[in-house]
């Protein structure tokens, strides 16, 4: 083990990870070029802590790394059999909750959900599928919203509110019926001021928010996570 006593280092699976005051374990880990699987976290936004995929072990506690404040000498376990299995099951919960048909999805290969599933060796859904009836909103001239794929990470909610200053999205409902809301009298995207240049238009980690009239411009097999696994890819918008 390393000299461990520097004032601004915690330990992740035996590696020293430097951090700055106020940083979370996931933010510092990501900045150090190490990978803890995650979906609802994005380096440009405050942590949300809802997907739970970044759950790590600190002593007797399991906690999400995205909301865990880094502290000197903290011993964090992430790449263990226990946590790999936990993440696999959480990913499977997300897959069965929505309708995810990777082979026909435009986001395949660029999708963080899919890439993270590969990273945790997911080979099937394990749980029974819910097959929910979810609408597709094709009302906007330039953007397609396919809510079948929504994992409720709220990144679009945050991006539209905090970066675009529009608050086009919000979360509605409760429990298993939680869903994305569109801020317009009709509830449709066409009646908002949403634009393809909005940050929220490019932040979706899955294939909910897609540009229209652009399909398979990059062939399957040559896409972002086809080139390298998500654990080695740069953080940022897909």
């Amino acid at each position: 083990m390393s000299s461990a006593d520097a004032a601004d280092v915690f330990h992740l699976d035996g590696h020293d990870v430097p951090f700055t005051t106020g940083e979370t374990v996931l933010a510092a880990t990501s900045r150090a070029g190490r990978y803890i699987p995650h979906l609802c976290w994005h380096p440009d936004f405050a942590p949300h802590g809802s997907c739970r995929v970044c759950t790590v072990r600190v002593g007797a506690r399991l906690v999400p790394a995205c909301t865990l404040p880094a502290a000197t000498g903290l011993v964090v376990e992430s790449d263990t059999a226990e946590l790999r299995h936990l993440r696999l099951r959480l990913l499977q919960l997300l897959f069965v909750e929505g309708n995810h048909f990777c082979p026909s999805c435009e986001k395949s290969g660029d999708c963080q959900l899919q890439a993270t599933a590969y990273a945790v060796d997911m080979t099937g859904p394990h749980f029974e599928e819910f097959y929910p009836a979810r609408p597709v909103d094709a009302s906007h001239p330039d953007i397609l919203l396919d809510l079948n794929r929504c994992i409720l990470c709220s990144l679009c909610v945050r991006a539209s509110r905090e970066v675009d200053g529009k608050s086009v999205f919000a979360l509605g409902g409760h429990g298993i019926d939680t869903h994305l809301l569109i801020d317009s009298p009709s509830g449709r995207l066409v009646d908002t001021d949403f634009a393809p240049t909005d940050r929220a238009a490019s932040i979706c980690p899955v294939g909910v928010i897609l540009p229209k009239r652009r399909g398979f411009a990059v062939p399957i097999g040559e896409r972002r996570f086809d080139q390298q696994p998500i654990s080695a890819a740069e953080e940022g918008d897909p």
Binding site: P47, G49, I151
Partner: protein, 601 residues
């Protein structure tokens, strides 16, 4: 179609202005609007959003979060049967079906734009000692339901008699105090504890509460004095005292009685807390199901203001300014969790917050805040008056004082029983007239299930902790059905924020229903326990972490109740294969034996 748009029947502006156009009052505004409109049309949401400077989607998101707020038309008579297991044991399901039959409606279904009546189920209404109970229009309650009452109710609804004109005795809520100890026996004289506190000073009061060893009565058992000291020391201006009266844990109704009988002691306890930590603002978060208590609680507050016990310069002490506002919930169990409660108080969806920071550092609108249970505040008042040593001498070393139990289920005398901590479960069972008892669910669905061989264990933080519910089940009861009912409860109340709870509780329900339908196999039991582990390991808050408790608690003690539901030792599909090919039989016009699949079992 209704003759007029519902919005024309009311002026949202008046409700909004009454709340100072404050976006933090959003839940209150929506509740009051709905009380007038019956439901919340989009037009009303738009007006509220504009007036409060919120987006329509934000307002819609908040309204859609709460079970008692409706974004679609519901019946002008909205009847909700309390669906706790104790209501079911008293026959609530048959009564619900009878009412639906007589009114020609289907439970949970809404037909048309302005239906006369809709009937559905809701989580426990806190009337388990006088059930089956129901809630009408999220306001009035009807207790002690029976076939006669249901038949008369159907007639009153058909003839459109307004609910306030229904027989008054139907809404009679009894305060059944079967065993009183120090808290329930004699409420202290109004203002007496405040006088004692002023004599001691804030620091002296804080020391007294810490020395008493009082631990929070909401369930977690955090030291009350310690919580107050943390809040007092926290940086930042403003301090807030919140009374958690969101008594949502099924089977719990002690706070309802305390608020009804001892409101003065509760409010005095809150005022004492304000004195100790230097707070000027107080809230009571009253669960929506207890709406019927609102007027009498407001009257007590008004009376205390008139007596100089609330408001400015309380008891003539310059600078001791504190007042209390009652905030009504709108049907969300998760808001009993203190950080969800604070979100709801701020007019938002009641999702639990990420902690740290804890409410004592950053609570209501970022101000250091203490959240304590109704019973805790009553205890504070008693301790302030009679001293820490007196309180600490009651109960056990680690659990000082008394605990009030809401006793319901299979016993002769349901109601409230107050005992010193350390009292055995057997003693409580004897006192409430329980016979042939098979199990007791202590502390509600998120608590523990205790079987016969454990009845000599005692109620205390160090042995069997309790959040106040004590549901008794005799040998006739099916403990699998008890667990299934609780599992449905958690899925119904999941806020939907985190993946494991949102999806996991729904999966638990599916598996438990599969077992109940007779399609179970040992594989399903493994699957149930796997989901339970996932919930415990990765949920955002206590709701998800405890959602598998009923399963685990009952399975460990009443395994045969599960095993007799398993059809075989092999995997059984969750559906009837033969029934699935019935359409093929229809199409081919066959019904001979060869057109049927061989079924197991």
């Amino acid at each position: 179609m209704p003759a007029t748009s519902p919005i024309s029947r009311c002026d949202p502006q008046a409700v909004i202005i009454r709340h100072g156009s404050d976006p933090h009052a959003l839940v209150q505004i929506l509740r009051e609007l709905q009380a007038e409109l019956g439901w919340l049309p989009r037009e009303a949401l738009t007006r509220v959003a504009t007036a409060l400077g919120l987006t329509l989607a934000e307002v819609e998101g908040v309204a859609g979060f709460y079970r008692f707020l409706h974004l679609r038309p519901v019946g002008r008579y909205r009847v909700l049967f309390s669906d706790n297991i104790t209501d079911r044991m008293l026959g609530s399901e048959a009564l619900l079906q009878a009412l639906c039959r007589q009114l020609g409606v289907v439970p949970g279904a809404i037909v048309g734009d302005d239906p006369l009546v809709s009937v559905d189920r809701c989580s426990c209404t806190g009337l388990c000692d006088q059930g089956p109970a129901l809630l009408v229009n999220h306001h009035q309650v009807v207790t002690r339901l029976d076939a006669t009452r249901v038949a008369q109710m159907a007639e009153l609804i058909r003839t459109r008699v307004p609910v306030p004109a229904w027989p008054a005795e139907w809404s009679l809520v009894e305060d059944r105090i079967e065993r009183a100890d120090v808290l329930l026996a004699s409420p202290p004289a109004q203002g007496a504890a405040l006088a004692a506190a002023i004599a001691r000073g804030p620091q002296g009061l804080l020391v007294e509460i810490e020395r008493s060893g009082l631990r929070g009565r909401g369930g977690a058992g955090f030291g009350t004095g310690r919580k107050w000291a943390l809040c007092r020391k926290a940086a930042g201006t403003g301090r807030v005292v919140v009374c958690n009266a969101d008594e949502g844990e099924p089977g719990t109704f002690k706070d309802r009685v305390l608020l009804s009988r001892h409101a003065d002691a509760v409010f005095e306890g809150m005022t004492l807390a304000a004195f100790a930590i230097g707070a000027r603002t107080g809230f009571v978060y009253l669960r929506g199901e207890y709406r019927f208590l609102l007027e009498q609680l407001e009257a007590v507050l008004q009376q205390r203001r008139a007596a100089g016990l609330l408001g400015s310069s309380i008891c003539g002490v310059a600078g001791f300014d504190f007042d209390i506002v009652i905030h009504l919930g709108a049907g969300a169990y998760v808001c009993g969790e203190e950080s969800s409660l604070l979100e709801s108080l701020e007019g938002k969806r009641g999702n639990p917050r990420v902690r740290p920071p804890y409410p004592t550092e950053s609570g209501y609108l970022g101000q250091p805040t203490i959240v304590n249970n109704v019973e805790t505040f009553c205890a504070v008042t008693a301790i302030t008056l009679r001293g820490a040593a007196w309180w600490a001498a009651i109960g056990t070393a680690q659990s000082s004082g008394t605990r009030i139990h809401s006793v319901s289920g299979d016993c002769a005398r349901p109601g409230l029983y107050e005992y010193p901590f350390g009292t055995s479960i057997r003693r409580i069972l004897e006192d409430c007239g329980a016979a042939d008892t098979q199990a007791v669910q202590v502390g509600g669905p998120s608590g523990v299930c205790v079987a016969v061989n454990e009845f000599d264990r005692s109620i205390a933080f160090e042995d069997v902790p309790s959040a106040g519910a004590f549901m008794v089940f005799d040998r006739q009861r099916d403990m699998f059905e008890v667990a299934r009912s609780f599992t449905h409860f958690f899925a119904h109340e999941s806020c939907g924020f985190c993946t494991p709870c949102r999806v996991g509780t729904a999966l638990l329900v599916r598996r438990m229903d599969k077992l109940a339908a007779g399609h179970g196999s040992p594989h399903d039991l493994d699957a149930l326990f796997e989901i339970d582990r996932l919930l415990r390991g990765s949920s955002h808050c206590g709701l998800g972490a405890t959602a598998g408790n009923p399963l685990r608690e009952t399975f460990n003690r009443f395994r045969p109740a599960y095993e007799r539901r398993l059809r075989s030792l092999h995997l059984i599909p969750g559906f009837d294969l033969d029934a699935e090919v019935s359409i093929a039989r229809q199409v081919t016009g066959r019904d001979d034996p060869a057109a049927h699949l061989e079924q197991q079992g």
